[in-house]
Amino acid sequence: MTQTSADLIMLFAGVVGLLFLATIAGEILRVRDADGSPVVDTFVTRVHSWWAMVAILALALISGRVAIVVLFAFASFAALREFMTLTQKTRADHWAMVASFYVVLPVQYILIWWGQEGLFTSFIPVYAFLLLPILSMLRGAGASFLSRISETQWALMICVFCASHVPALLVLDIDGYGARNVLLIAFLVLVVQLGDLMEYFAGRRFGRTRVAETISRKTWEGVGCGLAFAVLVGALLAWITPFGVFWSGVYAGIAFLVGVGGALVLAAIKQDRGVQNWGHLIPGQGGFVDQLDSVFFAAPVFFYMTRYFWV
């Protein structure tokens, strides 16, 4: 067994331990709360979803590059489907949308698998950005043309470009880190999601000042606790990163903050479109976008911070 697999298994054991605690806590809450309040129900459903997500991610991370790229390609597909459901579109956009799903998305992930950094960082922001509006224009443009093409591009940037920067971490050739990049994915996902979780619970408990009054229930107190927790988790996980304890904490904190910003931006979009959730595929959480919004935002920032200072 390689060092990487051993580390992954250690990490996995830790997460499974946390999930056991959450499951037991959920069952205790359920026994205590005989009337079956919806909050407890949601919590228990969420814990079940976490089990499934941890299992799938762990399997992919153990299996290696192809499995990881395929997993995130499917997550992108589900997220893009949720996003495009809410964007403005007319018949003229049909080809642009067909191209987004069946050409842009697979090509982006093939480029990631191939490891062509110059290509996968420019493909969507440059080539898709310029070509898709041409397709819509050829089909007759029409009303709200600029808004429509912008929304399609936004959907691709968030759901494909940003999301694909999680598996893109595998491509980085970090000095003295060897082929352990798969651990960086685990690091990023864990610090962001655990920070989110702490932000959620602390915010519900002692939150007072809303970050964005009309958009979300997130509070500065909650974000502060989440940030402290993310930094702590990051520092504790320094052994799986190339950064050292101090910088692991800093990187975890930055990833968490960008993630919170992302969650708020996507909440504002939901509000604009008058929906509660992006989808329904993850029980208790809503859609893929609801679950992964913070990871999507944090991924490119984390990728480039690592790329410029550690490669």
Binding site: F77, M84, T85, H94, V98, G274, G279, H280
Partner: protein
């Protein structure tokens, strides 16, 4: 052999429909239980019927037969296989001059065998910008003959964006099928008010109408 092939084809079809649309049923007015029903739905695309069929739980799906146009479903061997064997459609002839049997009698016969049915009371695909076309008399004639069966309004949302008319490649977008509260023919109710009532019950399920775009 044909039955096995039909079952496998049906499975592939529902899996494909789920992959493209993440199809979901919203049981707003009824429970997904085994009870005889007439589902009446809006019709904007050829994918409407397979989609309703997909979101029905398997136990209900096995007992539910869509009513479909014979002139469309018998055009080729492949379509006939899909229509007759996979969907077990009640095939009726829309063209009055070619008819050999009364379509309403055929539908009532299917109901009497215990099947639930899916009908599209607009009589054809809606190619206009209006959410619904005026209903044809068919739904009234069925309700008159079997007034006890629940008429369930069934709104198929968003499918026209997945495959706008004239396009062949479907775009993956989330799609919901909303089942409303059942409607019944009242005693001595005339056709016009009944058709309006059915149409309103169906139109009320349209998310675009309530302002929130879903």
């Amino acid at each position: 052999m044909i039955r096995l092939l039909a079952a496998v084809t049906g499975q592939i079809l529902t899996t494909f429909a789920r992959f493209i649309t993440a199809a979901r049923a919203d049981w707003r007015g009824i429970e997904p239980v085994r009870k005889q029903r007439i589902y009446f739905a809006n019709h904007t695309s050829n994918a409407d019927m397979p989609l309703i069929w997909t979101v029905l739980p398997p136990a209900l799906r096995r007992e539910t037969r869509p009513v479909a146009a014979a002139d469309y479903w018998l055009k080729s061997k492949l379509r006939a296989f899909a229509g007759r064997d996979v969907f077990k459609a009640v095939l009726i002839d829309r063209r009055a001059e070619h008819r050999t049997e009364d379509p309403i009698a055929k539908i009532v016969e299917a109901l009497d065998e215990g099947s639930s049915i899916i009908i599209f009371p607009e009589g054809g695909r809606n190619m206009t910008d209006d959410p619904l076309l005026p209903f044809k008399a068919g739904i009234f004639n069925i309700a008159t003959r079997r007034p006890d069966v629940d008429l369930v309004p069934t709104w198929v949302d968003n499918i026209s964006n997945i495959m706008p008319k004239g396009e062949v490649i479907p775009v993956p977008l989330a799609c919901t099928v909303i089942f409303g509260a059942p409607v019944h023919l009242k005693k001595d109710e005339a056709m016009e008010p009944f058709l309006t009532r059915c149409s309103d019950a169906l139109g009320a399920l349209n998310p675009a109408q309530s302002g929130a775009r879903g």
